[in-house]
């Protein structure tokens, strides 16, 4: 109220009402179908009794005036017991405010004194820890006067983008009845909380990265997930994976009236999971790049509560597991169609430099691991093959003479390429399977 000895009581006062969207009034009534009350439930089993009851009932119906109580006791329409008439209700309390929502308020400044006030400049601001945001300022065109008992109303809106304490500061500068210029500040505090938390898990299976996101609802309301979009970083393409059994096709005989089950996350701790498949997007030159960055992308989330009241949030960038891209990729490209036990065969291999710098020269040989077990496929003849340096992103095709010492399905593996300059060893990718027949 008064802020100093010089200012007496104020003529004006602010009143604030939060104006989030209204909701439907649900009030299941106590209404009866007369057939359920006037006779036993099985009375109408006998058709004579049924028609008797119907006749008695229709003769008992008087001529009704529009507002007779009859319309509030007997059922008019089969859906009356739901209690959803369509009546809208104003927000009944201030409620909680969350990050990403829009704070909307009806503000009324009224003159409770016995005389007129003049030249009223009204200001409304939101004050947070970091900033002061002006919502309304009538100083350029002040309200000429507010008569005794009169009001000046306005509505303000503010998109909430910060957490924590907020203060709605309403102030009025006016001339009171005595011509004295008075200043009235009023403060309305509220706290903004975090509505959601998004927990992510990243798994890499072969060349594919899977991103699982779990959204948890911390608010007091059930949230309808209007949009949950993952925006991948430019080196990725994302595909949302759905569980096909959860997608119900709209019932064809009802013409699709029945909607698909919506995603509504229960209040106070409910969760919903989303799964995305990420594949590296091909770059301009058509080569897959070796990327040091492991940023996968971010989520844009829009939720709605009653009557579509929206809230919007964006997550921070989500980081994936560091991509272990090989600098050198060595693979078997081709093998003969028939391979016999203990008979040498020629295999075509390819060595690719996936970096942006020159690497090599390389020495290709059988890997020298601790296992003394004989490998199913070994290099026949000269045990080492020298390959020259490779340019950035260059590749080289070469032949290796191999021999298989075990029957059946075998994998060609255990062959390494040693970068003689950098002293790094690269393993052959053991993808290629061969079928070894007997002689």
């Amino acid at each position: 109220m008064s802020t100093g000895a010089t200012q007496g009581p104020h003529s004006l006062a602010f009143r604030v009402m939060r104006l989030c969207k209204p909701s439907f009034h649900v009030d299941p009534p106590l209404r009866i179908d007369p057939f359920d009350l006037l006779a036993g439930e099985d009375f109408s089993d006998d058709p004579t009794s049924a028609s008797l009851l119907r006749r008695h009932l229709s003769s008992a119906e008087g001529v009704d005036s529009d507002l007779s109580y009859r319309n509030r006791f007997l059922i008019n329409h089969p859906t009356d017991p739901i209690g959803l008439s369509g009546l809208l209700l104003l927000p009944q309390s201030f409620g909680a405010i969350y990050l990403g929502e829009t704070f909307c308020s009806y503000i009324s400044v009224n003159n409770s004194s016995t005389s007129e006030v003049r030249d009223v400049t009204i200001k409304a601001e939101i004050q947070t820890e970091r900033q002061r945001i002006l919502l309304l300022d009538t100083s350029k065109s002040p309200v000429e006067s507010i008569r005794t008992g009169g009001r000046y109303d306005f509505i303000v809106e503010h998109d909430v983008k910060e957490l924590g304490a907020h203060t709605l500061v309403c102030s009025a500068l006016y001339n009171d009845a005595d011509g004295e210029r008075k200043y009235l500040p009023q403060f309305f505090k509220f706290v903004v909380a975090n509505p959601l938390s998004v927990r992510t898990k990243v798994r890499v299976v072969k060349e594919t990265t899977f991103l699982e996101a779990c959204i948890e609802n911390h608010t007091k309301a059930n949230l309808f997930m209007d949009q949950v979009d993952f925006e991948p970083a430019k080196q990725w393409t994302a595909l949302r994976l759905h569980d096909p059994s959860s997608q119900h096709p709209p019932s064809s005989d009802l013409g699709g009236i029945i909607p698909n089950p919506p995603v509504i996350i229960r209040s106070g701790g409910g969760i919903h999971n989303y799964l995305y498949k990420l594949v590296p997007s091909a770059d301009v030159s058509g080569q897959t790049k070796f990327q040091g960055s492991s940023i996968l992308g971010k989520f844009q989330i829009t939720w709605r509560t009653n009557l579509g009241e929206p809230g919007r949030l964006q997550t921070q960038q989500i980081l994936g597991a560091p991509v272990s891209r090989k600098e050198i990729n060595m693979r078997v490209v081709e093998v003969p169609t028939t391979i016999h036990l203990n008979r040498p065969f020629s295999a075509s291999l390819n060595l690719t430099n996936q970096t942006d710098r020159q690497l090599g020269p390389f020495e290709v040989s059988l890997s020298q691991d601790e296992s003394q077990m004989e490998k199913p496929v070994a290099i026949n003849g000269l045990q080492k093959l020298m390959l020259p340096r490779l340019e950035a992103f260059g590749s080289s095709d070469f032949q290796l003479n191999l021999i298989a010492s075990k029957l059946g399905v075998q994998k060609i593996g255990g062959i390494t390429a040693l970068d003689t300059r950098e002293k790094k060893t690269y393993e052959l990718v053991p993808e290629m399977e061969i079928f070894v027949e007997s002689d």
Binding site: L37, A39, E41, I82, G86, L88, D153, D226
Partner: protein
């Protein structure tokens, strides 16, 4: 409650003064001047002509009077009448006790005396027992079979706990009632009229359950229930509009719009609502879409058209005032509500004066 011994019917007097009224005035079959002895409210009512009052009275003692009182909301009068009838042993048949008990429970609940209603319900035997079947009394009900329990009594048995704050018990009983109704539908296959009646009861119980779940914002269950209701009557514009409202309530705006579009395209052939009511339904749906889009002026225009078509459309009146408030027009909101209240008061006073004649 033991139907074979009327003596047990003497209940603690709800309104002791009424027992002192002249018992000779109570004659079961005539037109009802004696009913005025039970009136605890000053406003009297026009006596129904004798031929009419006899019709329902054939089913149960003085039933036409009970029905009349209930449709006028005169619950105290009903309670008086019930205690009077019991005190004077006017109820001679078992089903009459059940009907009167049902009226009593309803009246008590309407008067917000649900604890007394609960007490009355506790006096009942198992609904499905022998005591409440017509065939147990062949001398009174020759050739009649089945349960004499009014369905409303089963429903009140489920409703009363919710009025006493025991929502879970109430819900359990309602779901049990739903199962019971579905069993009856299967059982009565072949008897079309009976099946029809029980199907209406199924819709009734499902609608009650929907109201309860919706009130608690349990939208998943609510959608399942309304789906079931729509499957049974996909062409009911009022029902489908309620689906739209439910979708709007939890925030699926696009879904709600699509649903309201469907309603608009429906013809009103099933005749459950008049042409005016259908137009107003469509108008109110459109207005809701405007409210969501914050176009309050457009919403107000739609509601005004509804009010012009039907000035007793209280939903349109209320929602128009709300929209005026959201457009910062609080004074007009108050003005429009006041003017409608004035009109309603005028109508009500005209109504009461007519009745005194």
């Amino acid at each position: 409650m033991d139907p074979t011994s009327p003596e047990s019917e003497t209940r603690p007097e709800i309104n002791p003064s009424s027992a002192a009224t002249n018992p000779a005035a109570v004659q079961p079959i005539k037109a009802t001047p004696e009913a005025t002895a039970f009136e605890s409210t000053p406003s009297s009512f026009a006596d129904p002509p004798p031929e009419r009052s006899n019709s329902l009275d054939e089913l149960t003692h003085d039933l036409s009077s009970l029905h009349d009182l209930s449709t006028r909301g005169q619950w105290e009068a009903i309670l008086d009448k019930i205690s009077q009838s019991r005190a004077l042993f006017l109820l001679t048949k078992p089903h009459e006790h059940l009907t009167y008990l049902t009226y009593q429970v309803i009246a008590l609940t309407k008067l917000r005396r649900s604890d007394e209603a609960s007490h009355e319900l506790n006096s009942l035997h198992d609904f499905d027992g022998e005591h409440y079947r017509y065939e147990s009394f062949p001398e009174i009900y020759p050739d009649r079979k089945g349960s004499m329990v009014p369905f409303s009594l089963r429903w009140m048995y489920a409703l009363v706990p919710t009025r006493l704050g025991n929502r879970q018990e109430g819900l359990d009983r309602l779901y049990t009632l739903l199962d019971f109704v579905r069993e009856r539908i299967k059982e009565k296959e072949g008897n079309d009229d009976s099946v029809e009646l029980w199907k209406k009861r199924e819709i009734f119980v499902m609608s009650c359950l929907l109201g309860f779940h919706l009130g608690h914002k349990e939208f998943g269950v609510s959608l399942e229930l309304i789906k079931e209701l729509i499957k049974r009557d996909p062409l009911d514009p009022v029902l489908v509009s309620k689906l739209g409202s439910v979708q709007m309530q939890f925030g699926d705006i696009e879904g709600a719009k699509a649903t309201f579009d469907r309603v608009e395209k429906m013809s009103n052939h099933n005749g459950l609502v008049s042409e005016t009511q259908f137009k107003n339904l469509v108008g109110r749906n459109k207005a809701l879409v405007h409210v969501v889009a914050k176009d309050y002026a457009a919403a107000v225009r739609e509601y005004e058209e509804c009010i012009e078509r039907d000035n007793s459309d209280v939903v349109a009146v209320n929602n128009k005032a709300l929209c005026l408030m959201y457009s910062r027009d609080l004074s007009d909101a108050i003005k429009s509500m006041k003017s409608v209240l004035r009109e309603i008061t005028l109508m009500l006073s005209r109504l009461t004066t007519r009745r005194f004649v």
